[in-house]
Amino acid sequence: MMKTRIMATRAEMRAPHSMRPLKRLAAAGAALFLAGCATVSPDGGFGTVQQLTKERTGQTATWQRPDAQADSAKARVDELLQQPLTADSAVELAFLNNKGLQASFSELGIAESDLVRAGRLRNPSFTFGRLSGNGAVEIDRSILFDVLGLLTMPLAKQVEQARFEQAQLQAAFEAVGVAADTRRAYFSAVAAQELVKYFGQVKEAAQASSELARRMAHTGNFSKLTQMREQAFYADATAQLARAQHQAVAERERLTRLLGLGSDQLNFKLPERLPELPKSAVEPKDAEQTAMDKRLDVLMAKRSADAVAKSLGLTKATRVVNVLNFGYANRSQTGEARSNGYLIELELPLFDFGVARLLRAEATYMQAVNRTAQVAINAQSEVRESYSAYRTAFDLAQHYRDEVVPLRKRISEENLLRYNGMLISVFELLADSREQVSSITGYVEALRDFWVTDTNLQTALTGRSPDASATERPSAKAALAAGGAH
């Protein structure tokens, strides 16, 4: 790219009343400056984020800014930690306390400042040159205003507005992700904790068998082999319990991270059981359309394509002349009177005629369009898949609750009758009680899966892709960056 600077000075241009147009220009510039000036909104655009988030998670997100009510937030956190957590209170906690989420909210501030900057004229530039030689000194002064910036300000503002809205969506997107992660972690933590209890019961049954077998061997009624078989059950059950206990710790810690709790807040309480299975499974109507209308990633992709389209228009408008500087210039030369004038700087597309940039812009636009289409297709597919997972989990949990567990219980009852008739031994009775407990652990796991898939379905319907957790997703920002290219 080659820049050619055309300078008009008093030497070439006759302008006897040169001060007059300069004054007029300054006045016009000031007016434009004031008109185009966007200011920082009082909530930083977070109100929209709150609304988007509340619609999708039922909980209100708060942005803890340094000046904001950090104390009241802390009080609320303490209050929530008093009671055993529910899924909702866990989400509320995460919104208040998740530092990663707060960090992503800060993106909003950054976008807003960009928006504000886009509404302001670029600061005028002032150049000063001094040449001396042969006893002569030549001084050039000029003050330059970004005239084209002034012309393109409405477009640039639109772009930045889109970027800002994008950032709002992005913030909501992050919040919905954190909410989904929190709910999933919450259900997993409650289930893992509940499972510890049942694995404890299994171990207890195995321990009773083992102890009895030891006594049987001691009195000579059991061979070492038989005794050791019972002991092996116990050994296995102990290992199983240890694993379950660690799992409970791991799930709880995952939740702790999402809730952003420090080491002084670790004794938060979880309920003993998962919430009951709802009476019936939901049948979302127009699920795919809902996803198209509500899903934040879809909305973002659409917004992004819009922004690209606008920036494409901008590129078209500026492809011949992309920067036009206009300013006042004067020159002082030793021994001569100061000469005043003005200068115009024009960048000419001598080699870059804009075609390449136009192609790039068009390609970028098509990229945005196709990406949006793909996001939409993914969203629809995810809704279908999530619904299948949800429905299966519901049916399975119901099956465990209504069939497997009662059946196992009846089997145990029949086994007890058989034991009463000395048809089976206490060892078989205990082995059966272990199996009965396993059916309950199966139910707990199915119920947990139901609540997780329920979260996933809600997320897929209104928020985002349920597959990846928010804390593991770098792609959203990349998409935004790509979408915002102009």
Binding site: Q201, E204, A205, Q207, A208, E211, L212, R215, M216, H218, T219, G220, N221, F222, T226, S412, E414, L416, L417, R418, Y419, N420, G421, M422, L423, I424, S425, V426, F427, L429, L430, S433, V437
Partner: protein, 456 residues
Amino acid sequence: MNNRRNFIRTAGATMLGATAVSRVGAASLPEAVIQTSPDMQPPLIPTTGRPYNPVVTLNGWTLPWRMKNGVKEFHLVAEPVVREIAPGMKVNLWGYNGQSPGPTIEVVEGDRIRIFVTNKLPEETTVHWHGVLLPSGMDGVSGLTQPAIRPGKTFVYEFVLQRSGTFMYHPHADEMTQMAMGMMGMFIVHPKDPRQMKVDRDFVFLLNAYDVDPGSATPKVNTMLDFNLWTWNSRAFPGIDPLVARTGDRVRIRMGNLTMTSHPIHLHGPHFEVTGTDGGWIPKTARWPEVTTDVAVGRMRAIEFDALAGDWAFHCHKAHHTMNAMGHDVPTMIGVDQKDVADKVRKLIPDYMVMGERGMADMGEMEMPLPDNTLPMMTGQGPFGAIGMGGMFSVVKVRDDVKPGDYKDPGWYKHPAKTLAYEYTGGLPNPARAAGPTADKTTLIVRKPMGGHEGH
């Protein structure tokens, strides 16, 4: 059902003949009389044909017949039946004329008999007359000596009884299944002269065994040896009638074994002689005096004794055979202290009760719920408590005042004074023993190693 039983009891065989005619008119087939009561029916005193001294079938009955041109005609119907093994348990079996085992067929040496066999089973069958001398073509082995009787078909067996004695009948087509399902009956050929081998009471029954999974009702026909119901005439004690006699009666008990193992049948009290085998009557000089006689598989035995007053246990001496359904893989708990473990178990299984710590007799005393349609392992209460036996067990009840022909249960025996075992309540003084040597410093002190050797 009751009507039918009362009818048989009161009207007797002559009337049955008449009924048969009225029911089927001039048809050539005699009526197939059905019996569904599990109780012992009174002996069927013959009113047609040659006279004989009838037998009494333990928890069973004798099949009526009709005379037609000097031929005794019987009608057996092979069919699925429901048999009460003992109160509280009914089993799906296959049998004849409403019962398993089928009715006892009683005939007299020299009789010509014609037996119509109608097959109402879902599969083909035959009848083999076990031990009876007859033409080969009447022997009832499907494929070998006759075509099988297809379902819905009726076959006729006709032969003359050559020899008196104790015999059986059972299928010889898919016999493994059909005998496991209870297809069998006694076949008694009385001597032509009723004075020959005459006794006052003549009991007959078959030994049979089933494998019925607790809580179910149909035997597992593929079981080979591990049966759990050991029965006489498909009844298990306490569902078995007592064998009632009057003091001094000459009593005969005839047994046929169609299980897959032998049964040493043991009678308490009076000694008996084995008077009959599969081959017929044993000459007096060759009889074995016994208190236990082993009735091997596929065999018949007749024993005789003179009744002595009292309640005399009469049972198979294989101890498992005097049990009802029991677990054969249950470990022995004797001597194992379960108390604190039991508390732990009860936390998981609230209704759990400790059993077997002192042996199995707990079972006889504790009334605990069992699976449906399952007999407790040991039941039956005697005058002094739980009898602790089931299965192949009954009581020979001999009383001074039983009337001839009366088989009613006379209740428990009243022991004459000083004939009943009693508890010793005196002291148990220490026996006087000679003093041992006292230890002094030259006595070797043996120090046993301590610890780590409990297992030795």
